[in-house]
Symmetry: C2
Subunit: 418 residues, 2 copies
Amino acid sequence: MTLEQTIDELAKRAKVASATLMALSTETKNNILSTMADLLTLQKLHLQAENNKDLEAGSEKGLSPAMLDRLRLSDEVIDSMIVALRELCMLPDPVGKIENFVKRPNGLQVGRMRVPLGVIAMIYESRPNVTVDAAALCLKTGNAIILRGGSEAIHSNLALATILQQALTEHNIDKHAVQVIPVTDRLAINHLLTLEEDIDLVIPRGGEGLIRFVSETSRIPVLKHYKGVCHIYVDKDADLDKAIPLVINSKTHRPGVCNALEGLLIHNDVAETFLPAVVKALTACGVELRGCARSVKIVDQIKTAGEEDWGTEFLDLILCVKVVQDLEEAKQYIQKYGSQHTESIITENYSTAQRFIAEVDASAVMVNASTRFNDGGQLGLGAEIGISTTKLHAYGPMGLEELTTRKFVVFGQGQIRE
Amino acid sequence: MTLEQTIDELAKRAKVASATLMALSTETKNNILSTMADLLTLQKLHLQAENNKDLEAGSEKGLSPAMLDRLRLSDEVIDSMIVALRELCMLPDPVGKIENFVKRPNGLQVGRMRVPLGVIAMIYESRPNVTVDAAALCLKTGNAIILRGGSEAIHSNLALATILQQALTEHNIDKHAVQVIPVTDRLAINHLLTLEEDIDLVIPRGGEGLIRFVSETSRIPVLKHYKGVCHIYVDKDADLDKAIPLVINSKTHRPGVCNALEGLLIHNDVAETFLPAVVKALTACGVELRGCARSVKIVDQIKTAGEEDWGTEFLDLILCVKVVQDLEEAKQYIQKYGSQHTESIITENYSTAQRFIAEVDASAVMVNASTRFNDGGQLGLGAEIGISTTKLHAYGPMGLEELTTRKFVVFGQGQIRE
């Protein structure tokens, strides 16, 4: 079989499997998830042996210690997968839920029933725990999944897939509901992304390069976010005592992730009071500051920012600072340099908060809260398969509900259209 | 300016306009819609003069009488546009509505606020009334719109756009919220469909050729349906007296539209009773029947169907008939030949109805109802901008809500992430 035929076959099998998944009861799906957790526990040593092949190959290829660490299926990582599977059993199943049920004047009863999307392809880098998380979320929502992890994790991902498929088989469910692409050739992705007849959605997760490649190549709809350039705007009516811990938390809690703070906007009226205090707190945490001319005048430790600094996702202990004249200037800055990810205002002014919430365009807009809260778990979705900063279908973290769509269901008693 | 520059400029202006639209009050939006209706009334004669240019050019080019009829802005057509605008004022504005509002354990209040998508491009054929309908729906939902109608309607569409823009200007709103592409060169569409930075969604409406072209060319998300191959399945437990009017209505009420019936599936147990009766009623309405071997044996008037007939969207008084052994075979037939548009079962059996509703994959699944009800107005959406048979974002008719997305809004009191 050629590479194309292998991928075609895999996609067709996923589509066939998705038809059976659609009709599974919540109980059956939860039972499969439990079996997956049991099998991961039982086969931990085998899994780690397969993972070691990837780690050894990675070492030889000269992967960085950080990369190797992300690749490692340690006891803790496997345990966290198992916990995630058990927690997923407890979450409500969105499939079959009927919303907006109404009775029309002619007596027709019309509702919108949540149903699976069908077949989802997930393209991601490195971390093999995504394999289990994504497969479990898709199973819970009745979707078949095609997984394509990084080539450096191929042994780990195939071993994980075998375990997940074994759980499906134990419950007499078509094992092709979960498939890992067995070849590492990049051309496999190119071909996969043309199969719009069989695949309903592609979710890429990884660096901006991967995501741009998927987005530009795919004929299938893609849900994605390129980067997180998140801001906090400290308003003139901010409670400055609240503001400092919020800025510190947003910037330093985990600087390498997409909901970390990259830009701090400060209203001119409070700049002289607030800037020295916040800079002191930030530098104490090792944060380097790059600011506008006005901010540099107020605080020595701030270096003058270059044009390339504004709107940069540093993913590091670096923060841009800009003094603005008012909410309007803050909004314009965010529109120009933000990435529609997370934007937070610190204010005690009711009307200013209302305007910020209504008028700022981002997947999450916040008042007096850390940007770090833009996360499926933190926002109450229970689990997250990714985050979208495009507006179609999902905007922000995507949980179980975002892995479904709604079809119209119509209950009639013989009505015809006049 | 080159063609590309013209289109770039137009898209950029739409994006700028969309930022102001986002924050408009419902009252302002309704006032603009009213003014649009007033101006259409006042400028009817001018509009019809411009429309005449298109009609004359169309005649010269040899357009069919049916095509010319679709192109004509008769008094009735203009009046119906005016009525649609006034009715749209009465519909609820989805923008700003907060759904799923919850309080998290840490006290954060989290909701999902409906917001406009941004900029929508509409690419359509012939009928100039789409220009007004689509622009009005987008305005009501705070979206800017770029319109590209058929080249044969260019004078009509530009005249309509001028009127709509005049209404915007009277209310001091950026007139670029509604723009008609002023050139008829097809390359304009090719370039438009690459502008993913400025345009959030493309909706093509027209023949399958146009829709495939847009879908294959676009880098921007597309909501579409290619065709409507709709079925009715007459179950063994059907009330056959109900079934006949439902089949007749679905097939003959308006055979040329996408929710018209194209295939009739009949359970073997009732085929000998039902087929002669339904064929008699259908042939009395001038419907030609093409069926499976079993159906041909039962009723003489049915011609043997060729393989090319199954799954064909006839858009005419032709109907395929197939006798099936059970619900399972009906489902498989629908999965193979249907277009995920509209599928209806006729049955009095509760469990069979439940299974059909849950297990058939289409944008609308119905029990004891005419397929003709798969329509935004009929299903209670109030207005419709199109219909989607792809599952991302919208599945089925798209009304006002489908022209919005939901962002997360978070109201905190200084919470940081531990």
